[in-house]
Symmetry: C2
Subunit: 413 residues, 2 copies
């Protein structure tokens, strides 16, 4: 690619990163916040200036379309612009901008050559991939792929009681567009883990996903005075929750190193007063592994630990809701496409797994899907210090351009 | 006392308990909320109808005054109308209403007899005793007794960023009244612990207070992706906090049973997202004991446990602020006054300690102060199921009337 298209990409990336920029060099653009609205408006403008048709569907997914052949199916490329709180500027946003630039280049090449690709082209910003404000994560792609009903999604509220419907409406981000049938999907994303950075690999061809068990849990206790209530009579929900958090963490001790990841990172205390023993704690358990055998064994262990901690703290642990991702593989033709593109451009590559969830994980169950990774330095993500070098970003865009070119001419058929 | 004054008290108590009433039979009237404003307006009306002058000071303490002898000092009686979230209806509110009824009876007796008490009479609703919305607790009496500056108190904000100044101003509850010098203070309160209920004692003469060490603590970690970040690299602030909570709880194992009470009941997670490892947890540690030797020993143990958990979880624990209550005793003449009043009325009594803090704890450092307890069934408090029987409430008012009568005629001089 010519130098100037690299410079344009980096300039666009720098501008995009100003929306919701944090003092620590990251961004905060949780789904359907004003900052998310600002970056979406910027993308809309970018689409229009480049001759894309812009559309919104009923869950706020934002599409830019280039039609070559009226009536032909589309192929779709994208990721998400929303972020975690105090997050990095690469997660998702890099993939949306890379998709846009790659599609622009491929469309220009076809126009310049006077050729007609087999499929029309579309770029998407999936709504609410992060799920920090509105759970579950990967919401826009879940609705698109029929895994979540639109009515259910629109009715979900954040911790302040604001619904997805109201938040999207406030941004004027609810449309009625239905994307025509798509023949394939590709996404490029930062790895968010350390494996590629550790081994010095530039391009990751994602061959499989880890699976996840996620649980909403309530620990039930009873209110009392922190000063005067006897220790032996207490039913302290926060003490029960503390034992649950350490139990979740200690599950990994029973498994081979780094084959199981377990976390509690979201927690609410009721009533959360300094002098009243907590009556209830709600928390979210996140367990991930390469296969469900590991997760099933971990869950059984956890249930045994919970029985003990309930007795010890006189609390009751209730599982309120669960969300399960099965592990899965990406189509071999797509993985090969990534390897070929990297080879042609002289970039080192490896087959990798994704431990994080991505919109591609939803879409791969619908149509042939390709997921490409570029390295995250030290594997840091969901953190303002998240970093992918400019050189690695540009290498990814060039590889992704080749992938778009191949898919649009029928390589995944 | 005649039956009808008992009936009037219970009718007033029932009416008072409707302000901020919860479905579970309790009340929720956190300081300077609309519900607190409603019950304060009701008390203001009750004061006025009974011929009290009503005044507000700069921190929202609400006074009702009966002047017998212009220029004479006052004696003050009261407690607080604010509550914890989802709390009982007796805590504080019983004491304000009992003080009002007792003062009305004593004033009427003097008027009927044409006698002139030595002191003028005042009833107070101390602002924000509970401290659940605005820390520290016992705020109004702390400002009154010079332990907390009014500017500092007015600048304190709740978790939503609303200051005491703004919340009080919204209720039109900031005045410029300064109560004339007081010669004594008395308060009646529910015990909030089980000792009197267990032993069947009707009247508690509070002889001493437990002491407390309270700490605002931050556990520092680092954000990361819950799915993809290696377990061995994590600095999970919520995991660190969980170990801290269990460490605080396990302190009591090193002490004689029920000589040390330790609790964490307030906690905030940042960023509190289901898929981002917590970068920081803020929590409040509450430790109480009969004497500071126990607390000092517990604190030293806790610091050693914190060093271990910091290493284990790669987090850092910072003590941000502390609030200390020394233990103390109430004047012997006041304790004797309670015992004599109970004896005269034929109620069983005992000398007790208060494990909870009360406004009386602040005022006793200023003037001779009496604190009286009535039993809490099963010691339940800060809970909708908090209960003191009507018979015990009425016995308390009758005893308190005798105490008011004695103090107003110089018994504490």
């Amino acid at each position: 690619m010519p130098e100037d298209s690299h410079e344009t990409f980096l300039a666009d990336f720098a501008l995009m990163s100003t929306f919701g920029a944090t003092a620590g060099g990251g961004v905060e653009r949780q789904a359907a916040t004003p900052e998310d609205g600002q970056v979406r408006a910027w993308l809309t403008d970018l689409f229009r200036k480049s001759g894309f048709e812009v559309h919104l569907d009923g869950i706020g997914n934002l599409y830019g379309l280039i039609e070559f052949s009226p009536g032909a199916d589309y192929v779709l490329f994208g990721s998400h612009l929303d972020s975690q709180p105090m997050a990095g500027k690469y997660d998702g946003a890099y993939g949306v901008l890379a998709a846009f630039h790659a599609v622009v280049r491929v469309a220009e090449a076809h126009r310049a050559a006077g050729t007609m690709p087999k499929y029309n082209l579309a770029v998407v910003d999936w709504f609410n991939e992060e799920g920090s404000r509105f759970k579950p994560s990967m919401m826009g792609s879940a609705v698109y792929s029929g895994k979540l009903s639109i009515d259910e999604a629109l009715s979900i509220s954040d911790s302040g009681g604001v619904s997805v419907r109201d938040a999207l409406t406030a941004l004027d981000a609810v449309g009625d567009f239905t994307l025509p049938p798509i023949a394939g999907y590709a996404e490029i994303h930062i790895e968010q883990g350390p494996s590629m950075d550790d081994s010095g690999v530039k391009i990751g061809a994602v061959a499989a996903t880890w699976c996840a068990y996620k649980y909403e849990v309530a620990v039930q206790g009873e209110q009392g005075h922190t000063g005067s209530m006897r220790m032996a009579s207490r039913k302290d929900a926060l003490l029960g929750a503390a034992h649950l958090i350490t139990a979740v963490n200690e599950l990994v001790d029973d498994f081979e190193q780094e084959t199981l990841h377990t976390t509690v990172s979201e927690l609410y205390v009721l009533p959360n007063s300094p002098v009243t023993i907590a009556r209830e704690v709600r928390l979210h358990i996140d367990m991930r592994a390469e296969n469900t055998e590991i997760l099933d064994r971990a869950l059984a262990l956890l249930l045994a630990k919970i029985e003990l901690l309930e007795q010890r703290t006189r609390t009751a642990v209730q599982f309120l809701a669960s969300n399960t991702w099965r592990s899965g593989t990406f189509v071999e033709a797509g993985v090969k496409l990534v390897e070929d593109a990297a080879d042609e451009l002289g970039h080192s590559h490896a087959r990798v797994k994704t431990l994080a969830g991505h919109d591609a994980t939803n879409i791969k169950d619908l149509v042939p899907t390709v997921l490409v990774f570029v390295p995250s330095i030290d594997g840091i993500s969901h953190n303002e210090r998240e970093l992918t070098s400019d050189i690695d970003m540009l290498a990814g865009v060039d590889v992704f351009e080749r992938i778009v070119h191949a898919i649009v001419t029928g390589a995944l058929d």
